[in-house]
């Protein structure tokens, strides 16, 4: 009797395991099928071009004659060692990022702190600051080029009222860089503001109540509670903003076309010039790969610092 029961349970167990395995396999298959469209899309439209660009970057390719010769690392050597333009452009890109990222994130955080709690008219203010994000880059550039004109520009006329003689913003290299940074920040700050608002709203209000009851000032609450709890959001926002600032193209193209005196010639715009104005496809591809590596390195660096912070 007892042995019969043992046998029965063994058989049962065996069957059960077989059934479970095949079920698991079936589930895995279903899951694969479900993710396959996006996976295939990713491989074709992201990974494909990346590989292609790496391939092109090792060619000397004349787009007009169609002749392509393998040159190995020559294009990279060209950029990194022989061509002084590259370092100038890279410096411009870093200046642009160094100006834009802190300004954008700081302003976004301030706006979010002011606008994350409901009050009468809060939606109006959120819309005002978010609207430029969804405004066409072309319209934005036209308006700002107009406002920043040297002689009759609205900004300089306002400055004149205060007795200040404004520069010709987009015609002097340093001012032009400042102008493209600031106008870009005004356009894009709404996006980071919304992200920070969402993050702030996910912090329970009881934290604030408890801290206030314990005597913490507004600044102490921000520094000791709110800011640390925003860290995950800050990481995402900073990655997106840093990478976005390295890739900035349309804004530069429309505002300054890289001028004056190449003062706003940033990496993405330089790549565009090399590829589609000078048809140096191989060289442009090498630059694109370098940009990809820089963006990747900066991203990993930020993740690393966040990890170290938490440990």
């Amino acid at each position: 009797m007892a042995s019969a029961m043992t046998d029965l349970s063994t058989v049962n167990n065996g069957k059960g395991r077989m059934l479970r395995l095949s079920l698991r396999r079936r589930e895995a298959l279903t899951a694969l099928l479900f993710v396959s469209p996006i996976t295939i899309g990713f491989l074709v439209f992201f990974f494909g071009p990346l590989i292609a660009v790496i391939g092109y970057s090792m060619l000397q390719w004349n787009l007009l004659t169609g002749e392509a010769t393998f040159v190995g690392y020559a294009n990279y050597a060209d950029a990194l060692r022989h061509n002084p333009d590259f370092w100038r452009v890279l410096r411009n890109s870093l200046v642009f990022a160094a100006g834009l990222v802190p300004l954008n994130m700081g302003l976004a955080l301030l706006l979010a702190l002011a606008l994350h709690r409901p009050f009468r008219g809060v939606v109006f203010f959120r819309v005002i600051f978010f609207a430029p994000v969804v405004t066409s880059a072309v319209a934005w550039a036209i308006v700002w080029k107009f406002l920043l004109q040297g002689e009759a520009g609205a900004l300089n006329e306002m400055l004149a009222l205060m007795g200040i003689d404004g520069p010709n913003w987009l015609r002097e290299p340093n001012w032009a860089m400042a102008a493209v940074i600031v106008t870009r920040v005004i356009k894009m700050v709404g996006l980071n503001m919304i992200l920070y608002i969402a993050a702030l709203q996910s912090i329970p209000r009881d934290y604030d109540s408890a801290a206030r009851l314990e005597g913490a000032s507004g600044w102490q609450i921000f520094r000791m509670i709110t800011w640390p709890l925003l860290a995950p959001a800050t990481l995402i926002i900073s990655i997106v903003t840093v990478v976005g600032s390295l890739k900035v193209f349309d804004h530069i193209y429309l505002m300054t076309e890289g001028g004056p005196e190449n003062g706003t010639l940033v990496l993405a715009f330089y790549i565009y010039q090399q590829a589609f104005e000078f048809f140096a496809i191989g060289y442009a591809s090498a630059l694109a790969v370098i940009m990809f590596v820089i963006a990747m390195a900066l991203t990993l660096l930020q993740v690393y610092f966040r990890r170290k912070d938490r440990a």
Partner: protein, 360 residues
Amino acid sequence: MRPTMDTQQATTSDPRLPALEFQNVAKSFGAVNVIRGVDLQVREGEFVVFVGPSGCGKSTLLRMISGLEDVTSGTVSIGERVVNDVPPARRGVAMVFQSYALYPHLTVAQNMGFGLKVRKMPAREIESRVADASATLKLDALLDRFPRELSGGQRQRVAIGRAIVGNPRIFLFDEPLSNLDAELRVHMRAEIAQLHERLGNTMIYVTHDQIEAMTLADRIVVLRDGQIEQVGSPQELYLRPDNLFVAQFIGSPRMNVFDIDKLPPGVAAQLGVPEGAVKVGMRPEDLSIDPGGRGMPAVLRMSEYTGGNSLIHLELDGGAPCLIVHHGQTSPPEGTAVHLTLDKGAVHFFDANDTSIRKG
């Protein structure tokens, strides 16, 4: 006398003075009146429980004591001082939140010491105070853990510990046990009672659970719609409720209430209904089935066995539903005609305004 004596007298709290006083306190959010004229005195060292249905304004009252919410009109006093305009941190109160509100990125020790740190207390004193509080609450072994690494009961203790280290005059608890499972709730209830005994501070405790209120309170304040319905000891509220609401809110299972004119014939005369009474209330635990066939006739509809006793649902002649607590292991089958008598406890009469009528 020397002037120093005077100052000394002013600072030592006189046990006859109220630790906390509400005078005609009202609160509105926009056009909505959430608290409508509350008067209350709490003695030093008293354990007072605010109880009432969800949304009646318990949390709002507590937040007005703490200063997290300002009062629309009236005055709140702590000690002899009107605190309407005193910032929260200067009121000498500490609060335990239902959500615990433990900062997730700080350890247990850092959570408990947070308030002392922002007040710039020397690190060594913070450490010793946290050590004291954690010894009291058996948290010593957990000081370096993060809130996410604690069980619900442990988080609750840390929240209480954080309140203790500030050495407040008044403790405020806002439904502190409602996130715990039933067993832990009973356990923590006892711990809070012991804590009160040990510390002797004034405690104001909010709950919607009348059992918690009954077991913990020196005095219970029953609230409804932003107004006080009755204030009294648990026994007073149970034995002599002022009105129908309190009668039905306090006590479990809740009191049976019948319209007097729908009672079975002859019962009203037997009860000796006073003038003006339109409703009569009898507690389920006071009613029993009379084997001698005297009392109110009723039919048994359903019985629920709970172990030590059964809850029996009946229907009086005339159709009114009635619940009794029946002691013993067996109860009559469904459909049995029985008679109910009230052999102990009181009959409660209510007038047309639901106010209690006291006989004699």
